[in-house]
């Protein structure tokens, strides 16, 4: 008897994807002065829509609109009123959540299950949470009278297009700043739909402006002289370049960069739950997660048993149509990213690690990479040092908690870490010893607007979420 799931595809028409999209500047959707560029559905490799691209001149116009809105409308507005706009936006995101989830999955390639259950609800939660801060800034622990910084220039990545936009826009607006934001060139659509929501919510023109395009447009935005604050989420390499180019300008900067998180499993861990957590840690969103648990550190005494169970679980993962509600692993976001993941995995082979993937049929169109683990990995190998940003897990072992800490911290990154053990004192001891901005104990990849998120070391500086996140958009003035 065949016990396979019947396919359960989401209806693409719910996404109402238009043939063409435009940047959103000063409250108006209008053509950018660049040429149109296609955005691709990574699940099929086909063009999903055309997107009018912005130019440096458009960036200038957007920053001008943001400055005017800051000076005339948003800056002088009371926190209560600002908060009401944000509450409206939160509600409208929830109202259009199914449409947004479909758009996100079509444009990004992530499984509909994740866009529907994680990305969109969490994005709405960010607006809702920050709405409540708008009239309470003096209670945020940043001095009695924190002030907005002005115009925020924000650049977000392609892995969580709408969620990253919400993380960036909501605190900026709550604090009284105005925004110019650039989505990644491969995933602009959900943010442009969000712009419709801003317009429907009556958000004054210029408060949020969206420019489209690739790295050159982002560079023009972060280096614009009338931008007071820059927020970037993306690769460490680009983050370093931005930090360098802003040096000496006095402009404020926060960076959310890469990671190479250790997920540490002790011999007393609840094994089945740990297996589930490891799978969630590295295969969620195809591993396109800066805090992905991409290094498994498993205690030597249980390594063999654990890997058997992990492989058995991986064999049940369903890879394929992102629009199918049963799909666990969707498409790699772009041909370029697929090439990068493939190249790094090949380095793993070349350096002598053992590659394993479950039997897995890859669709014949679109961009795909099977869930993969490498064993026989040493700390010196690139697969255990470099951020792969794909569904590739490097497995190492350890004997003592001290060794686990040393190996986990042996990375220029410090974004997240996972600990799996039933022993409470060990959890708290490990949580203290790990140099990472988020430590998930007996769980992984949990996000909430009330909990600060951000990195140590070369994973960047600044936090998003919670009181700590608000600090990035306010001048406390209390030196």
């Amino acid at each position: 008897m065949d016990w396979q799931y019947a396919s359960a595809p989401e209806n693409a028409s719910i996404g109402r994807v238009k043939p063409r999209y435009q940047p959103f500047i000063d409250g108006v959707f209008a053509d950018g002065s660049g040429a149109d560029a296609p955005t691709i559905n990574p699940g099929t490799g086909e063009t999903l829509a055309q997107v009018s691209q912005s130019s440096v001149a458009d960036v200038d116009r957007a920053v001008g609109a943001a400055r005017a809105a800051y000076t005339d409308v948003w800056g002088p507005m009371s926190g209560t009123e600002r908060g009401k706009y944000l509450f409206r936006i939160a509600r409208a995101v929830a109202e259009r959540s199914r449409e947004l989830a479909v758009v996100e999955t079509l444009d990004n390639g992530k499984p509909i299950r994740e866009s529907r259950d994680v990305d969109i609800p969490t994005a709405a939660a960010h607006f809702f949470y920050h709405a409540g801060w708008a009239d309470k800034l003096e209670h945020a622990g940043l001095g009695p009278s924190p002030q907005p910084l002005g115009v925020a220039g924000q650049v977000i990545p392609w892995n969580f297009p709408l969620l990253m936009a919400a993380w960036k826009i909501a605190p900026a607006l709550a604090a009284g700043n105005t925004v110019v934001i650039k989505p990644a060139e491969t995933t602009p659509l959900s943010l442009l739909v969000l712009a419709e929501i801003f317009a429907d919510a009556g958000l004054p023109p210029g408060v949020v402006n969206i420019v489209t395009g690739a790295g050159d447009v982002g560079e023009a935005l972060v280096n614009h002289r009338d931008v007071d604050k820059v927020a970037f989420t993306g690769s460490t390499e680009v983050g370093k370049r931005i930090q360098s180019s802003l040096a000496g300008t006095g402009r404020r900067l926060t960076l959310e960069l890469g990671g190479k998180a250790a997920n540490i499993v002790f011999d007393d861990a609840p094994i089945d739950q740990a297996v589930e957590g490891i799978v969630n840690g590295i295969f969620f969103n195809q591993g396109h997660v800066c805090c992905a648990g991409s290094r498994l550190l498993v205690q030597e005494s249980i390594a063999e048993e654990f890997l058997d169970k992990l492989k058995a679980r991986m064999a049940t993962l369903r890879l394929g149509d992102p629009m199918d509600k049963n799909t666990d692993i969707g498409a790699i976001n772009s041909a370029e990213q697929l090439a990068r993941v493939t190249a790094l995995a090949d380095v793993g082979d070349a350096e002598g690690a053992q590659r394993w993937s479950p039997p897995c049929v890859l669709p014949d169109r679109g961009f795909w990479f099977p869930p993969t683990i490498f064993t026989e990995v040493s700390q010196a190998m690139r697969i255990s040092r470099d951020e792969i940003f794909g569904p590739v897990l490097a497995v190492l072992t350890f004997r003592t908690p001290e060794e686990a800490v040393a190996k986990a911290n042996n990375s220029p990154y410090g974004l997240s870490a996972g600990v799996w053990t039933e022993k409470g004192s060990r959890i708290l001891g490990m949580a203290g010893a790990l140099r990472a901005g988020v430590v998930w104990a007996n769980t992984f990849n949990r996000f909430d607007p009330a909990a600060a998120f951000g990195g140590y070391k070369e994973s960047g500086f600044g936090r998003e979420g919670g009181r700590a996140g608000l600090a990035a958009y306010l001048d406390s003035g209390d030196y």
Partner: protein, 305 residues
């Protein structure tokens, strides 16, 4: 005031013992490995003493010492750190008179004004001594996340901080920079005022007798322009405090910091006689969020992992 710094010709039968001013690294007082010194003058241009002219190697040694001290200092209880910082205040209080003399000589103010500066520095240390065990409560807390999880955020020290002390405000400015950095559990390498280094060196002597573990505070004298770029680029320095840097130096050192994604604190000009806010305390704190499920006994009906 000058006779404490400079050998006087024999008065009667006794020649004053002149002091050799050295660096303060890892709890010890070495000369610069470069063997260099430079003359320090009072505000009227008179010779006060020779100070050690620190080198790139001294800066690297200071970072090693600071890194070595970090685990113990950041791991100490907040109560203990508070007592140690308070002890610095006690020791500075005990040396008010001679510290005031070096401040007066260097800054060209009268002794009464210098004493006032020393008193403010003592009070500043007392202020930060009281912060050590409040930082986590005030800047961390429980996160009411929407799920069956216990989630909390705690501030933790960033690590090794390299700082440039204010050029003119040689004691109060220095203490105002150092105290928040070490109170929050960081270790520090500070480059003292180049033209007015003597209060910093005397402060080093005070730190050495104040229960501050060796290496938690390291004081370099010499040229910030010569030493600081190495600190700003050093892979084992986590953050920079550019309070005492020139505007053009700030740009250059901020660029140096980008290679290793260092945190940079580059505050506007500050009046250190005013009581401080919390920006300096927060500057070198990371926020760590820790999550754990609450549903493992099915008491809250949620996910068990």
């Amino acid at each position: 005031m000058v006779d404490q710094q400079q050998p006087e010709p024999s008065t009667g039968s006794r020649l004053a013992v002149a002091k050799t001013y050295k660096l303060y690294l890892g709890g010890k007082f070495p000369r610069s490995e470069s063997g260099r010194t430079y003359p320090v003058f009072d505000s009227a241009g008179g010779f006060l003493a020779n100070a050690a002219q620190g080198s790139r190697k001294d800066a690297r040694d200071a970072v090693s010492a600071a890194r070595k001290a970090f685990a113990g200092w950041s791991g100490a209880t907040a109560y203990n750190r508070g007592q140690v910082v308070y002890r610095i205040a006690e020791m500075l209080e005990g040396r008010r008179a001679d510290v005031a003399e070096v401040v007066a000589a260097g800054e060209g103010v009268d002794v009464a004004a210098a004493r006032n500066t020393v008193d403010l520095a003592v009070d500043r240390l007392v202020h930060y001594a009281g912060w050590t065990d409040k930082v986590a409560t005030v800047f961390g807390g429980a996160n009411p996340v929407a799920g069956p999880f216990f989630a909390f955020s705690v501030p933790e020290p960033t690590g090794v901080v390299a700082a440039v002390a204010p050029r003119d405000d040689s004691l109060l400015g220095l203490v105002s920079v150092l105290a928040p950095i070490v109170s929050t559990g960081n270790s520090v390498v500070v480059v003292a005022s180049q033209t007015r280094p003597l209060p910093a060196i005397v402060l080093g002597e005070i730190l050495a007798t104040s229960d501050v573990p060796g290496g938690v505070v390291n004081i370099l004298t010499g040229s910030p322009a010569e030493m600081f770029p190495w600190l700003a680029r050093h892979g084992d320095v986590n953050a920079l405090d550019l309070t005492g840097a020139d505007p053009d130096q700030r740009g250059s050192w901020e660029r140096d910091a980008a290679g290793t994604v260092k945190r940079v604190f580059s505050p506007p000009p500050t009046d250190f006689t005013r009581s401080p806010g919390t920006a300096r305390l927060r500057a070198f704190l990371e926020t760590k969020s820790v999550w754990h499920p609450t549903g493992s006994l099915s008491l809250s009906g949620g996910s068990s992992y």
